[in-house]
Structures are given as structure tokens and as C-alpha cells.
Symmetry: C2
Subunit: 545 residues, 2 copies
């Protein structure tokens, strides 16, 4: 982690959190634009008043060099950024705080932590950026916690180097604790970049991305981090699990794919060889407006099936554009972007725009092309740039916390044939739940990534919540449940790129084939025989269910 302390409850660093002007503007926006009833304003509970139990176990001598039981340090490794977690943190409830925070500087120290924890039945919670939004970060609570003698957060922040760069193969060996900006700052020396920019980019890191099958900014082709992993090393309680540096292979079920998505439940990802590349030289982008999400979806479907491989191909419905502050836009917006390190991208964008026009889209500002030969930069006020800025500022609703807003997301992926029916059912289910819980609220829709056979759809809801944090968490849970139950009615996935964690686990268990659940538990039994890795997340040890 950076030396600047992270906020205990919000999206970013201490001192960045609450700006009075921003808060006032947000309050006015909620009340006047969205029509929420007058919002109470709450202050975050200061560290001195938070509930943090005393450590249940002491730091063992053999780990003393890199462990801490400091109250503030433990508070910051208690939660990820899931909505219930940030609400609890804001209101000062750090009940599940780890007893110990380990910050190893070598893989040997990681191994020492896992050996000690396995031996003493201490639950281990690996953390890189701590920005997970599915409840997969931090120690277990309640009944699951009770099965362990103690908890230790394993913060990989000191494993933060780019160790080796193979310029010819365009790959780099990067440590698991390296955060997004630190990765690219180090790769910059070689004129290379890891082109994977999840919305959490500034605060999250490689190990967490791989563990959660993070989705990057690429809308097509390289959507998940999986596509950029050449090889990986995961330290498991049973020993190191290291795959080979290979461009590809066909030797049995791909071992990399067992590590991608393992969510800290099998081991700790300490390093990976990743595919990297220079910054793009050529870019083309456009904002296209549609009168209806189904028309926009039809255009997107044709673009992706034509294998044009846009780097950006997002759909924001008209509710969403107004929330991004683009309230002058009364249409459904499709952002198209192409990029290349090698060749002009104008023909690809022009073809995509032809398709959009055939499906009823309009592009009043026309396409913009940048790169050698064009001689001009992106205009700073284009809708594409406005969208990008709003996107980068996004997070997990930190500014809504003081205003007692209940907000959240439901995501999935669905084939094109069933998208219209599913979409209608989803909007109805979430709207009904918002009405039942909060008497009002809104839900917006976007496509974050698209595939030849269907989009990844992302629903965001927001409503005036109960000022009481526990009741507000319960509201969140019921609204989210309405969405996830609808997802499962259509036999879809509860997560496209935000992992299973603890929050999606009930639906994940319904989603996967029963023999696969049994197989994963058997794998956990082999790699983590004492069952200490990230308890409660993704997969239980054999025999627990």
C-alpha cells in the first residue's frame, strides 16, 4: 500500500473524503434532481470512538518483524468496499477487525504466515488494494469466525515491484501487491504498460485483480485480467503453485484458470508474468445517441459480431448519463473507442458508426481521430472525455455515505436472445424492491463489456435510505436480493467482473454445477488442507456444507 494512509471507510485516501462543498452539492442534487426527501447528514465516527475488539491472539515471535496489532492498521484491513462494509466502517463498527496485520516483504515471509496460520488454525485474509465490492476482503465474522482461534490480514503491499521485463515478448514479471499506478510507473521506463484499468485502478493491485478476475476498461477481447496472464505464482499452504511461462498450451485443464478467480481461498498470488504493451499511438472515438436501449443494443451486437474489437464500447442508458452529470443528454449513450499501437483506427470506427446509423443512432459531433498524421489532441470538452472523467471519479458511493443513501449494483451477463426479456424483468424487480424498501428510488443500466453472444449488464440503484446503519444495510440487502434472484431466475451469473466474495456466495452456490462445487471443495482440501484461506469466501473447505 501507499505510504499515504487509506480512508477507513471511503474510496481513496484519508483527507480526501469529505469536502463540504461537494457534500452540499450532492445533497442538493439528490433532493432537487432526484427528488429524494431531505437528506440527514451524518459524520464518520472517528477512530477513537470505533468498535475494534482487542486482538484475540498475540503476534508470534517468528512473524514479529513484519506484523502489527495497531488499532488503526487493523481497522484499515477489516473491510473491502462492499456497501455494507463501508456503511459499518463509516459508523465505526470494526467488529471483524483482524487480530494481526502481516506486511511481508518476501515470499518466504508469506510462506511463514501460511504455515503458522495453518498450524494454529488462524484465518488468513489476503489483501492487495482492499477495494473488493463483493464482501471478499477481510476476516470472517460471526459463526465462521468462531471456527478459528484468530484472524490475520495478509497485506501484500510490500511486494510491489516489477521484477523483470521481457521487452521482446512484451511481458513483465510483477509482484502481487503492486497497485495499478505503481505497475505502470515502473513499466514506463521500458515504454510499456499493463493495459488493464478497472475503475479501482488507482487503489487496487495485481494480486487482487487476478484473484477476482477483474474486468478492465477494454470492452471487448481483453475484458478480464485472465487474458493478460502468462504465468502466475500462488503460495498455498500446501506449497507454491507456479505455472510456466508459455504463450499458450493445450496440456490438460489450464492451471492459470484455476488461480484466476480463486479469491484468496486457495492461496496468495505473489507474482505473475503479465502481457504488456506500449501506449496506443492511434485512437478514434465517438459518442453515439440512441432513442432506446434496445436500438443501442442492436448496434452494439452488430459491432461486436463484426469483430471490430473496440477498446471501448459502453452503453449508458439515459438515467445513467444524467447521474454522470451529463443531464443535457436525453438519450441512451454509446461510447465507442478504438486504439492501436500500430495502425490507424479510423476505418474501424467509421464502420462501427455506419452500423450505429443503420440501427437508428446519431453521432452529432462526428468521430474523432488522434495519432500520427492527425496533428491534434482530444478536445477537452467532448462527451467521450466528460464520460471518462466521470468514470474515473466513480467508486463505491463514498459521497452518498454521509447522506444515508442506499445504493448498490447488480451485474450479470446474458445472451442477446434473452436480453430484452431479462432486462425488463430486472428493472421491474429492482424498482419494486426500491418502492417497497424506500418508497422511491431509481435504477440505471449500462453495458460494461460486450461479447459476440451477449453483453455484460450492470444495474445501479440508489434510493433515500434509513439513517440507521443496520436498517440501511438491511434495505441494501433486500434490494440487491431482488436483483440477484431475478438473475438466477434466468440462470445467469451473479457476477461478471466483481467476484463472488461473501455477498454473492448464496447465488454462486446455485449457479455452478453441483459436481463443480464438490470439485472445488476437493481442490481447496488439497491446496489449503487446514482450511484457513479467506474463510467464508467463494468455496468452503470439504465437509463444511
Amino acid at each position: 500500500m501507499s505510504s499515504k494512509p487509506r480512508s477507513r471507510w471511503g474510496w481513496g485516501f484519508e483527507g480526501e473524503m469529505i469536502d463540504e462543498t461537494e457534500l452540499r452539492e450532492r445533497k442538493a442534487f439528490l433532493e432537487s434532481t432526484l427528488g429524494f426527501p431531505e437528506r440527514p447528514v451524518r459524520d464518520p465516527v472517528p477512530l477513537s470512538d470505533t468498535t475494534i475488539p482487542d486482538p484475540a491472539i498475540e503476534i508470534p515471535d517468528e512473524l514479529a518483524d513484519f506484523c502489527s496489532s495497531d488499532r488503526a492498521v487493523r481497522a484499515r484491513r477489516t473491510y473491502g468496499m462492499a456497501r455494507p462494509e463501508t456503511i459499518r466502517a463509516f459508523h465505526g463498527d470494526f467488529t471483524p477487525a483482524p487480530d494481526i496485520v502481516a506486511r511481508p516483504t518476501t515470499e518466504t515471509e508469506v510462506e511463514a504466515v501460511l504455515a503458522w496460520a495453518s498450524d494454529r488454525r488462524v484465518a488468513v485474509s489476503p489483501v492487495t488494494g482492499g477495494t473488493g465490492v463483493a464482501g471478499g476482503t477481510g476476516p470472517p465474522a460471526g459463526d465462521i469466525r468462531a471456527g478459528y482461534t484468530g484472524t490475520i490480514a495478509l497485506d501484500l503491499g510490500n511486494l510491489n515491484d516489477v521484477l523483470e521485463v521481457d521487452e521482446r515478448s512484451r511481458t513483465a514479471l510483477i509482484e502481487g501487491g503492486t497497485l495499478g499506478p505503481a505497475i505502470n510507473r515502473q513499466l514506463d521506463e521500458y515504454g510499456l504498460h499493463l493495459r488493464h484499468y478497472p475503475q479501482s485502478y488507482r487503489l487496487s493491485g495485481l494480486g487482487g485483480w487476478i484473484a477476482t478476475r477483474s474486468g478492465g476498461h477494454y470492452a471487448t477481447r481483453y475484458t478480464h485480467i485472465d487474458e493478460l496472464v502468462e504465468s502466475v505464482r500462488m503460495i498455498c499452504p500446501a506449497g507454491p503453485f507456479e505455472t510456466q511461462r508459455l504463450p499458450a498450451h493445450g496440456a490438460g485443464p489450464d492451471a492459470n484458470r484455476l488461480v484466476c478467480g480463486s479469491e484468496g481461498s486457495l492461496g496468495v498470488i505473489t507474482r505473475a508474468w503479465m502481457q504488456v504493451e506500449p501506449r496506443p499511438q492511434y485512437r478514434s472515438d465517438a459518442a453515439v445517441y440512441f432513442d432506446g436501449i434496445l436500438e443501442a443494443a442492436a448496434a452494439i451486437r452488430r459491432i461486436v459480431q463484426a469483430k471490430l474489437y473496440p477498446a471501448n464500447c459502453r452503453l449508458h442508458d439515459r438515467v445513467e448519463t444524467s447521474l454522470y452529470g451529463m443531464d443535457d443528454v436525453e438519450a441512451d449513450l454509446v461510447i465507442l473507442g478504438f486504439e492501436s499501437t500500430d495502425q490507424p483506427t479510423d476505418a474501424a470506427l467509421d464502420r462501427a458508426l455506419e452500423i450505429c446509423e443503420a440501427e437508428g443512432g446519431s453521432c452529432p459531433d462526428g468521430p474523432d481521430h488522434y495519432g500520427p498524421g492527425y496533428g491534434h489532441d482530444r478536445p477537452e470538452d467532448s462527451d467521450v472525455v466528460r464520460w471518462g472523467e466521470a468514470f474515473q471519479l466513480g467508486g463505491s458511493g463514498s459521497t452518498d455515505l454521509p447522506l444515508c443513501v442506499v445504493g448498490g449494483t447488480v451485474e450479470t451477463a446474458v445472451t442477446w436472445d434473452r436480453f430484452p426479456e431479462f432486462h425488463e424483468a430486472m428493472l421491474a424487480a429492482v424498482t419494486d424492491a426500491l418502492d417497497a424498501e424506500c418508497k422511491m428510488g431509481h435504477v440505471s443500466t449500462r453495458f460494461t463489456h460486450v461479447y459476440p453472444d451477449g453483453p455484460a449488464v450492470y444495474y445501479t440503484f440508489r434510493a433515500p435510505g434509513d439513517p440507521d446503519p443496520d436498517r440501511r444495510i438491511e434495505q441494501w440487502r433486500r434490494i440487491k436480493r431482488a436483483g440477484l434472484d431475478t438473475v438466477m431466475e434466468y440462470d445467469l451469473t451473479p457476477t461478471h467482473h466483481h467476484a463472488v466474495g461473501r455477498d454473492h456466495k448464496e447465488w454462486y452456490a446455485k449457479q455452478i454445477p453441483e459436481p463443480y462445487g464438490d470439485a472445488l471443495r476437493a481442490v481447496k482440501g488439497v491446496l489449503d488442507p487446514a482450511g484457513v484461506m479467506n474463510p467464508g469466501v467463494l468455496v468452503d473447505p470439504p465437509g463444511r456444507d
Copy 2:
């Protein structure tokens, strides 16, 4: 399987095998062009004289409707097309023949076979096309066979329908036993195709492709069948393992990726939703000549790193082109092909040719572009077309069997930084082994698929072998071992797209991380608790090693 009986030993159907003229021409080519000593000519052993043990077990009543113990039927399900297998089959040795051949017409019948086999400890060998070249097709022999009461080949040839087509999402539900031509004949009605053409296309089928992580004709992007699988159903002894129809997801380690590459050792792949698409409308291709494989490799590296996504991007060294009958070509050949269902491909090929020229390549015939607006077809005598025809006729060396040639392949994938050193070591190791075993012989090199970080390299060797089949198999084994040991010296994979089977298993065991081997065995223990699925292939049941 087709109603026309397949050859017991060669690549194709009965009656297609030995043409006197072709045999004479091949003999002359080997002796005069390749300088082999005079080749003896052997005839295949007729069915009546083959060694096929009587069945060790009887067909149980409950499976009688779809099972056979016919001698010829059993002979044809004894082997795949690995070199030692075709040599044994040619010379009449069918010792490991299955006791029973089951040809189920429903998934219920598949389940019945697995239940009966698990109960009676009968080894089950699933087969679709039976063209596997890594010794993964057919019943176990020797010590492994001795651990079972009998053997049954599970031929999926009657599960050969396209069951459902989703034209909007461009996906189709296809049964596992459907062979390549039957898939596309059925999809033709919808104007769609499964664009996956392994060299075995005419004789192999969907279940086998998925089970072996088959490599198709696409040189980049969609290299392995894995990329085209939307969902899959695998019947395991423990029950059906069916994944969801999803464009993508991030929910835990991807279950599809456990099925891809499972090689019949976990269950039987009975159906899958596959991504399909229309035939390409636009094509561009070119043949480029280089004076040296490293120069050609440099050009290919830049093309793939530029993300031009050529559909074809093969390198054949000068030894290889002469063997394809293109003996007027005294250079290393790169075949480039682009295709699109939607947009012209000329700009992409032109850019690729610019790169080739910068790296010393020459394209004397220039690029060829086809599609709406060009108004002409591919010329029939272009080098690209000549290459394509030679490729389609290729197989597992059937025409060399009567002439007692020892031939085989070693394949791997390697990052660009290590390719030159590895390539030199590989050529030296195989050449030394050829000299030691046969006093002469040659080895040729191609790239079958290419990635941003390196090529899939494929080495083919051929030498005058011993007329005695057992001694010839031993020669093959030693030469192949020299290649595979070199692969492992460089910590690479023993297979890029031809599976592990039994022939690569020794090296696969060295390749994978130890905890992954343990994890796979645990998975097998869950999905195939009696340990009856494809014994000896890929992964052993828990506790056997």
C-alpha cells in the same frame, strides 16, 4: 461416426488407404529426393489375421440395445492415430481392443454406461473421431488394464445433431459426437458455421475437440476451441456437469476451463453451446518468403504484437515447403491470411506486408484480396492455395506406414526471447537422435499458431525406420523423447494443441506444479469416484502414483 467404415490403421476411410501409384511415387520421393535407402514395402495385415483377444466381459442386458462385441467394430475403437498405434494397427496388433463398444443414442444411455462401468470397475474410453495423436484414445493396456475387469469404448457417433441455433447470439447447441463436416452441414441451413478447422476436421468431432483443447486453423485470437465454448455439458460418473449459457463471467475459477482439456478422464462431453458465425465475406492473403527462420519470426512477432489478428499466420521452414511438394520454393515461407464477415481486410494485410518487408521478406506475387467489390475468386495455382491443399491432405503419416518410415512430431510454445536458443537446441537434439537411431533423417519446423508473447512451434521428423514394427516404435519413442526432453530442459509444454494422452504424460507430470497435479487428482476422485474414466490418460485416480 459416418456409416462408411473408417480404416483400422490409416487416416481416413476404408478403401481410401493404399493407392499403388501414390505408394510408388512416395517411395521414389523418399529414396531420390530425401535420399533414404531403398524402402521395403509392407502390406497391412487383414482383419482375419489380426490379434484381437476375445472379450473379457459380456455385454450386460441393460446395455444390449446399443452395444457390440463385433471383432471389426472393436478393432476400429482400439486406437487413436498416434504413431505407435497406427504402426501396431497396420501390422495387425489389436491387443488392447475394447471388450465392448457402446454406441449410445441418448445421454441417458451414456449415464447407464458410466453407472454400470463404475459399478463393475470397467475402464471407459470415450471416442468421437478417434483421431487423437497423443495416445489418449482407446482402452488402457498392460498394468493399467490389469486393474480393471474389462474395457468399454464409448463411441459418441450417434449423438451427432445440432440441437438448437440462436441466430441472434450466434451460438449453437451441438452434440459431442458430431464430426466437423456434419456440424457445418447442419449449420449451413442458418448461414452459420463453426469456424474451427483442425487438420483432422473431416474425421474428428466436437467432444474430442473440447476434451483435447483442439487447435483450429485460426493462427491468432481463436487458436484453441476453448475460445468458442459458451457452455458445456459433461456427463461424469458423479452426475452431469453442465455450465450456464453466459457470454462471460467472473464467478470463481471458470468451470468451462476444467472441462476443456479433461481428455475423457473426468467425464464424457455430450453437448456444448458453441460460438458460430457466417462464412467470411472478405479475405486477403499472401505468401511471403524469407531468407531465414529468425527473420520470418521477427516479422510474425511484430504482426501479432500489432494486434492485426490474422486468421492465418503460418511459418513453414524450407525443409517443410519441400515436403509439401513446393520444392521450387527455396526459402522460408510465411502464409498470411485475413478474413472478415463484415469489412474489407486489405488494409490489415497491407500493413502486415509492410512489416514483412521491413524484416526482409518478399512477396513476389503480391497480396490477393477477395470479396464484394473485387469481382474475382482466388487463383487456383497461388502458393496459398497450394499450401492449403497440401495441409488438408496431411494426416498422421498413413502413406509412410507401408514404407516403414519412422516419423513423428514434437510441439511446444515458447516466448520470443527464448525462441532462437530453444530452436537451435531442439534441432540439434532431434537431429542427433535421428542419426543415432536411423543414421539419417530430417526435421522440419513450422509455427502453427502465434501469440503476442511467442509462437507455437511444431517440429516434424522423418527417417528410414526399421521394418520390424516393434523396433520402429522404439525408434520413434527415442527420437520423440530427445525432443520432449529438450522441451522440458527449457521448462516448456509437451503439447500446444494435441493433448497429453498417454504419450506426453511423463513430461506433463514434470510440467505442472505439484499442487496442481494433486488438485487434479482430487477433482478426478470427486467426478469419477471409481476411477474408470479413460485410465492412463492425463490424470490418475487419487492414490495411484
